[in-house]
């Protein structure tokens, strides 16, 4: 398992040409940075879409200058039509869930750091790895092309429910070519993720360096490993589902379209399909997907917090088991998205229990984080601020899950802003905070330069307060019955809620602007930041044993041997209050995993 000859299997010569170095690279570090760049561009697109959505929701008849350039029919004179609102909303959700939240925490940071954290030179299948990025890139281009092709993007939401997704353009703008492009894009994305998952799993199991037992893997490595197992099983279900929808569009099949449907007074040429089949396939993927979005953050935040606290967590094994429990249980809860869908009402009870039970490992994780803080010596910096902010957001987003897990309460909260608030707090905020924490923490190693700490703190404060100002009110709106996916609020009972929407819009625009501080900091530091030392955080895991930035083969030909678990902090060693994993120095310690 730890034999050096294992490394020969994926040994490749250093790249020389520009194309091989920076474009079609086999190097996991370059691929990781490419994924990060893709996620960054996607995040900016998704964020701008959210600004346009929020402006429209607050001021329905407002003209957004320049919007007519994106679509003359969708926004004549810059005023958004209801269909264009839905199209922008669909793209916002799709871009953010797939190309930001699945890409950055897992594909970007995982690709860069997993091989280094296990002590490997690269992943076992570098060509698959390169393909996985470029397939994902093409998927993004295909998705974005729906803005300019045909009658625009699909308007069916990122969940793309049937039969709206399968009956074609008779159901509305974007429902013909727009849906087909969406399905092709996501099918390609699935392929990319499956290729990536193969690499992550085999790297973790087969390429660990001498001394690196499974229990000595950092929590971030465990998180990426567990996430890749989920990815393998979840994306492999979404992929055929997308193909079936494409067939319903182009091959005259009726997988998802029932008989006797009438649109525009015309009987539809479909029969025998199942509306609910799509929902089962989608959510069987969809629920593990949201854990794919958050589990890397859990691992990364744990990793960063430990370094910042200068002490290990109360139990590393319990955290690993909890991440595993979240992953396994996530497959048994998917029906909680379908309580009022028309599926057998007994199923609602069957899905509700595991949904409530999954609260237990999530609670244990939070308790371990919080009570590990007791007696710590926290170092406050941008990375640790975002890691601590993650805990606060994870709690806030998590408790609203208690309500949604119960079918009887879901009767009142399903399809309201309560749900939107819930998933934005856990995904749109907590997972994003995980990405930010990872960036501030690992940018020095990736780019060889420190990010500006002052700008980082300003970014943190505006984001932390701003996102609470945006998403906490979503819960109140939901409890008052504000329905989601409405492009405006003509209903009698919704009129009094419009002022709340306007306040939220203002908060969203300010918080959005704060993210530009982060982008500026990232780009400016990349070129002009203070040069980073090899181990600026006095951290212990293998990525800090190697040069900054790491050489093409990660360890310069000199593979480390691992003597300790990754969290030997709070000890007395020759270098300070920590001892690195690769250091043979033996110190007096409370617990050192073998």
């Amino acid at each position: 398992m730890h034999d050096m000859s294992a490394h020969a299997a994926q040994h490749h010569a250093p790249p020389t040409s520009f194309i091989r170095k920076y474009v079609f690279s086999l190097d996991h570090k370059v691929i990781g940075k490419q994924y990060y760049g893709l996620a960054l561009v996607a995040a900016l697109c998704g964020m701008v879409l959210s600004w346009m959505m929020r402006i429209h929701l607050g001021w329905t008849n407002a003209a957004i200058p320049g919007l007519q350039l994106l679509s003359k029919t969708g926004a004549p004179g810059g005023v958004m039509t209801p269909e264009y609102y839905l199209q922008l909303m669909t793209m916002h959700g799709t871009i953010m869930v797939f190309f930001v939240l699945t890409t950055a925490p897992f594909a970007a940071f995982g690709n860069f750091f997993l091989p280094i954290q296990v002590g490997a030179e690269d992943m076992p299948f570098p060509r698959f790895n390169m393909m996985s990025f470029w397939v994902t890139f093409v998927a993004f281009v295909v998705l974005m092309s729906s803005f300019v092709l045909g009658d625009g993007p699909t308007l069916g939401g990122w969940t793309q429910y049937a039969p709206l997704n399968a009956v074609g353009s008779v159901a509305g703008p974007g429902q013909g070519l727009g849906v087909v492009l969406w399905m092709i894009s996501i099918a390609l994305f699935c392929v990319g993720q499956l290729l990536g998952a193969l690499n992550f799993i085999t790297t973790t199991l087969d390429l660990r360096v001498k001394g690196m037992s499974l229990m000595r893997l950092p929590l971030s490595a465990w998180a990426w490993f567990i996430t890749s197992c989920m990815g393998l099983t979840a994306f492999s279900v979404l992929f055929p589902a997308c193909i079936l929808v494409i067939l319903d569009h182009v091959a005259g099949t009726s997988f998802f379209v029932a008989s006797n449907l009438v649109l525009n007074d015309q009987l539809q040429p479909h029969s025998g399909g199942s509306t609910l089949l799509w929902q089962h396939l989608f959510w069987f993927f969809g629920h593990p997907e949201v854990y794919i979005a958050i589990v890397p953050g859990i691992g990364i935040v744990s990793h960063i917090l430990i370094t910042s606290m200068r002490k290990p967590m109360l139990s590393q094994r319990v955290l690993i088991y909890c991440m595993g429990a979240l992953a396994v249980l996530s497959y048994g809860v998917y029906g909680h998205h379908m309580f009022v869908s028309g599926m057998n009402p007994f199923s609602a009870l069957a899905f509700s229990f595991p949904t409530l039970v999954i609260t237990i490992p999530a609670t244990i994780v939070v308790l371990i984080w919080v009570f590990s803080l007791y007696g710590a010596n926290l170092r406050i910096n941008s990375a640790s601020l975002f890691a601590l902010g993650f805990i606060s957001m994870f709690v806030s987003g998590g408790v609203s899950g208690f309500f949604l897990a119960q079918p009887s309460i879901d009767i009142m909260l399903h399809a309201t802003y309560f749900v939107v608030g819930h998933f934005h707090m856990v995904m749109g905020v907590a997972a994003m905070f995980g990405i930010f924490a990872a960036t501030y923490f690992w940018a020095p190693k990736m780019f060889g330069r420190m990010m500006n700490e002052t700008l980082g703190r300003i970014h943190f404060w505006l984001s932390f307060v701003g996102t609470y100002c945006i998403f906490m009110p979503f819960h109140y709106l939901g409890m008052a019955g504000n329905i989601r996916r409405y492009s405006s609020f003509p209903d009698d009972y919704l009129q009094p809620l419009i002022p709340v929407h306007r306040l939220i819009t203002v908060a969203a625009l300010i918080t959005g602007a704060a993210q530009l501080i982060f982008v500026y900091n990232l780009i400016h530091s990349r070129f002009w930041g203070k040069p980073a030392t090899d181990n600026p955080w006095e951290a212990t895991s293998l990525e800090w044993s190697t040069a900054t930035p790491p050489p093409w083969d990660n360890f310069g030909g000199k593979y480390p041997v691992v003597y300790h678990d990754p969290y030997q902090y709070g000890v007395k060693s020759s270098v300070g209050d920590y001892v690195m994993q690769a250091s043979p120095e033996q110190v007096k310690t409370d617990h050192d995993e073998k």
Binding site: L86, V318, N377
Partner: protein, 267 residues
């Protein structure tokens, strides 16, 4: 900075709780016979979630305040009991809460979804299509006429595809764009989707149910208070989703009968 952060967390937690405690934005008055169970579940869950939320944020804040930037030589301490105590606490507290909410919540769900309508419930059909709800009453013969999808025509207002020429049962059917029901009478709502997915939501009645194309589902409920309420679509159905609604009128028995007569005359 750490202390400032701790204070910020506490302020945000308290500010978040205030609208909940003051009932600023809440569901409207319950006018159903089963809704009280849902409202009780909601209150219980709010209390438990609220306590968990506040406790977690406060403890996080307090520990950030106490254990930050203590100097390079500060002694690291471990929380007494380590992880074992926390795991046991989580299993017991959360496990108990989960069981309580799950078990006690069954009745609130079962009353609505696992019990059939009573034999005397009044049947009303509702059809959801882009972007309106239409309702059908069976008329004096008590029988709904057959629907023929190929005959559906919005222009001639044949929303259900009825064939009164050949089908005597459909001749006295009453088709309306608003829903009216008598107070304190159980209704059996038969739900049909004409084109894509839609959903039926009346907040005051504490009912929400998706229409499923290809699957006819039903709801049953009893309204206990006269008034005018909004039915809104909650399943994304296309560009007109935001505007897809109908009014529900709960009338006294006498007013309901007058309404039926009025609608019948307009058929």
């Amino acid at each position: 900075m750490a202390k400032f952060f701790a204070v910020t967390i506490i302020i945000i937690a308290i500010l978040s709780a205030i609208p909940i405690l003051r009932h600023t934005w809440v569901a409207p008055e319950d006018i159903s016979t089963h809704g009280y169970l849902i409202d009780e579940q909601m209150s219980e869950t709010m209390a438990e979630a609220g306590i968990a939320f506040l406790a977690a944020q406060f403890i996080l804040a307090i520990f950030i305040w106490m254990f930050s930037n203590r100097g390079r030589d500060a002694k690291i301490k471990k929380f007494p009991g380590g992880a074992t105590g926390l795991v046991i606490a989580a299993l017991l507290l959360v496990g108990a809460e989960v069981l309580a909410l799950g078990v006690f919540g069954v009745k609130a769900w079962a009353d609505q979804y696992l019990t059939p309508p009573s034999a005397g419930a009044m049947p009303i059909q509702v059809q959801a299509g882009q972007f309106a709800f239409y309702f059908r009453y069976p008329g004096p013969d008590g029988t709904f006429g057959a629907t023929h999808p190929e005959l559906i025509n919005e222009g001639s207002q044949n929303f259900f595809g009825l064939d009164p020429e050949h089908d005597p049962d459909s001749r006295d059917d009453i088709v309306t764009a608003e829903m009216a029901i008598p107070v304190n009478k159980e209704i059996h709502l038969l739900m049909h989707a004409k084109d894509v997915g839609h959903s039926f939501f009346v907040r005051e009645l504490r009912v929400q149910q998706d229409f499923v194309p290809g699957l006819d589902v039903s709801l049953h409920f009893t309204a206990t208070k006269v008034g005018k309420y909004e039915i809104v679509c909650t399943q994304l159905c296309g560009l007109g989703h935001y505007n897809m609604k109908a009014y529900l009128y709960v009338y006294s028995q006498e007013d309901f009968e007058n309404w039926v007569k009025k609608e019948q005359a307009m058929q």
